[in-house]
Amino acid sequence: MVQNQRPVQLFRNMSAKIAAIPMVLTAMVIFVGCSAWTIFHSFTKSKLLPTTKWVGLDQYERLWSQNRWLISIENLAIYGIFSLVFSLLIGFMLAALLDQKIRFENTFRTIFLYPFALSFIVTGLVWQWVLNPEFGIQKIVRDMGFETFTFDPLYNQEIVIYGVLFAGLWQGTGLIMCLMLAGLRGIDEDIWKAARVDGIPMWKTYLLIVIPMMRPVFITTLVIIAAGIVKVYDLVVAQTNGGPGIASEVPAKYVYDYMFRNQNLGQGFAASTMMLLTVLVVLIPWAYLEFGGKKKHV
C-alpha cells in the first residue's frame, strides 16, 4: 500500500503484526513464560505461596518417595499402555470393518463416535453407574443365575484402573476409528486389486501392505493418544475420585490436589514438571522423525 514511501522496518505490515499480538503473547507469556515459571519454582520451597527460596531437588525427592505419586505413575503407565494398544487395535479393526463397503456405514459410524462428543465427566459418571455392582453388569449376570459372578472393578483396588480404562476406551475409540478410516480411504484401490490378483489373503494385505502404507496416520494417532493420556484427569475425578483409597490416582490429579487443596505448591510444581518431561519423551522423537526427516528432502 505505502510501499514507495519505505517506512521504518518495524511499521511495515503493521496490521498483521497487531493481529498477531495475541499469538505472540500466548506463545511467549503462557507457553514459554508460565512453563518456565513452574519449572523454576519446582526447585523452590514454595508451600502456601510461591517463594524463590532454592532447595534444589528436594521437591522431587519427596515426590518420588510418596506412595501416592508412585501409584499415580503406575496407573498412568497401565492406563497409557493399554489405552494405546486397545485404541489402535479397536480403532483400526472398526475402521477396517466399516471399509468393507457395507450398508448402514453412517449409522455405525454415528454410534461409535457419539461418546466422543460427551465430556469425560459425563463418561465417568455413566460408567460409574454401569459398573456399580449393586445395579450394573454384576447384578444383571447374577440375576441370570450366576450367583457368584463378581465384576466390581470400581470397588476393587487391584483392578480399578481397568474400570477407568473401560470408560476411556468407550469415549475415545470412535475418534481413532475415524482417523483410521480416513487413512484407509486414502489407500489406492489398485493396491487392493493387485493384491487380489496375486492371491494374497486379505489379512496379509492389511498386515504387510496397507498398515505399512498408513504409517503417517498411525504416528499421528499415536501422538494424539499419548498426549491425551498424560492429561487424564476429569475421567478419574468423575468415575472414582481416585479411590478406592488411592488406588486410581493419576498424576494430573496429584498436581491439582497439591496446588489447590493441600496448599503445597512445590509438590504440585514438581509433579507437573514431571508430566511435562513425560510428554517431551514422546514428543521429541516424534518431532525429530516428522520434521527432522523432511529437511533432508528439501
Binding site: 500500500m1 511495515r12 496490521s15 493481529a19 498477531a20 495475541p22 499469538m23 500466548t26 506463545a27 511467549m28 503462557i30 507457553f31 508460565c34 512453563s35 519449572i39 510461591p50 472398526l94 470393518l97 457395507i102 455405525f108 454410534i111 461409535f112 463416535l113 457419539y114 466422543f116 462428543a117 460427551l118 465430556s119 465427566i121 459425563v122 459418571l125 455413566v126 460409574q128 453407574w129 454401569v130 450394573g136 447384578k139 468407550w170 475418534l175 475415524c178 480416513a182 499421528t220 501422538v223 494424539i224 491425551g228 498424560v230 492429561k231 476429569d234 475425578v237 468423575a238 494430573a252 498436581v255 491439582y256 505448591l265 504440585g268 507437573s272 508430566m275 511435562l276 510428554v279 514428543l283
Partner: protein, 281 residues
C-alpha cells in the same frame, strides 16, 4: 448373505451394543422412580415413566448450599461459552489470516512455539495463570475463564485457519491489493465470506470443547460461577444424603445434551472438526 457378511455385521452389531448400552441405561434409569430402581433390573424398561427426576435435576438438585439444580450451571456454561467461542474464533481467524497472507519476520517462530505449546500439559501452566488473572482482577470471574479458553483454543484454531487461508488462491488476494484493499478490507470482504465452512468447523470444535471442559472451570471460577460439568460432578458425587440415581442420570444426560445435539446436527462437519481438533491432544 454370505458367511463373511454375517461375520462383519455380527461384529459391528455386538460392538454397537457396547457403545449404546450406557446411553440406554442412562435414559431408562432417568425415567424410573427410586423404588423401581432399587428393586428392578437396570436394563428393564420403566414400568411407570416419570419425568420427576428430570425436573428435580434441572431445578432443585442440591450442590452444597445451592438448591436450584443444574439450571444455574447451564446458564453459567452458556455465559462462558458464547463469549469464549466468539472471541477465540475471531482472534484465531485474524491471526491465521495474518500468518497465511501477511507474513512478517518472526511469525514462523512464534507459530512453531504456539503449536508445540499445545502439547504442554495444562497442569504446568495453571498456577502461573492464576497469578496473572489475579493481577488483572479476573480470577474467579467469568472474564478470566473466557480468556483461558481463548488462550488454549488458539493453537488448534490458528492452525485450522492458517491452513485454510493458505489454500485460497493467492491471485484473489493480489487482485484485492491492487484494487487498494488493506489488511482488514481483504479479511472482511474476501476471506470471511469465502471461509464459512471452516468457521462452522471451528465453532463445532469450540462449542464441544468448552462445554465439556472441567479443569479450567473448577480452577478459574468460584462455586457461584461453576460451569455445568463441575456442578454435575458435585451433584452426583456428593457424599451427603441418599443417592438418587434417577436424578443423577437425568442430570448427566442434560449436561451431555448440548454437545450431543451439536454432534447429531453437524454430522460430517463434526468429524472434520474433531479430526482437526484431535491435534490439540
Amino acid at each position: 448373505m454370505s458367511g463373511r457378511n454375517i461375520m462383519i455385521y455380527g461384529t459391528l452389531f455386538v460392538v454397537s451394543i457396547y457403545y449404546l448400552l450406557p446411553l440406554y441405561v442412562m435414559v431408562i434409569t432417568s425415567l424410573k422412580g427410586m423404588p423401581e430402581i432399587r428393586l428392578g433390573n437396570v436394563f428393564a424398561l420403566p414400568v411407570e415413566i416419570t419425568f420427576e427426576p428430570w425436573v428435580k435435576a434441572w431445578s432443585s438438585a442440591c450442590t452444597g448450599l445451592n438448591c436450584d439444580g443444574l439450571s444455574r450451571g447451564f446458564l453459567n456454561s452458556v455465559r462462558i461459552l458464547v463469549p469464549s467461542v466468539l472471541i477465540s474464533i475471531l482472534i484465531a481467524s485474524v491471526n491465521g489470516y495474518a500468518l497465511a497472507n501477511w507474513r512478517f519476520k518472526g511469525a514462523d517462530l512464534f507459530f512453531t512455539i504456539l503449536i508445540f505449546g499445545a502439547f504442554i500439559p495444562y497442569q504446568v501452566m495453571i498456577y502461573p495463570i492464576v497469578i496473572i488473572l489475579r493481577e488483572l482482577g479476573l480470577y474467579t470471574k467469568l472474564g478470566g475463564l473466557v480468556m483461558v479458553h481463548t488462550i488454549f483454543g488458539m493453537p488448534i484454531l490458528t492452525l485450522l485457519f492458517r491452513n485454510y487461508f493458505t489454500s485460497i488462491p493467492e491471485e484473489l488476494f493480489k487482485a484485492a491489493r491492487v484494487d487498494g484493499a488493506g489488511f482488514w478490507g481483504i479479511y472482511f470482504k474476501i476471506m470471511l465470506p469465502m471461509s464459512l465452512p471452516i468457521f462452522v468447523v471451528a465453532i463445532i470444535l469450540q462449542v464441544t470443547g468448552i462445554w465439556n471442559d472441567f479443569l479450567f472451570g473448577v480452577i478459574y471460577t468460584k462455586p457461584d460461577n461453576y460451569p455445568m460439568t463441575v456442578q454435575l460432578n458435585n451433584i452426583v458425587n456428593s457424599v451427603q444424603g441418599v443417592k438418587e440415581y434417577n436424578v443423577n442420570m437425568a442430570a448427566t444426560i442434560l449436561t451431555g445434551l448440548v454437545p450431543l445435539i451439536v454432534y447429531f446436527i453437524s454430522g460430517k462437519l463434526f468429524v472434520r472438526g474433531i479430526a482437526a481438533g484431535a491435534v490439540k491432544g
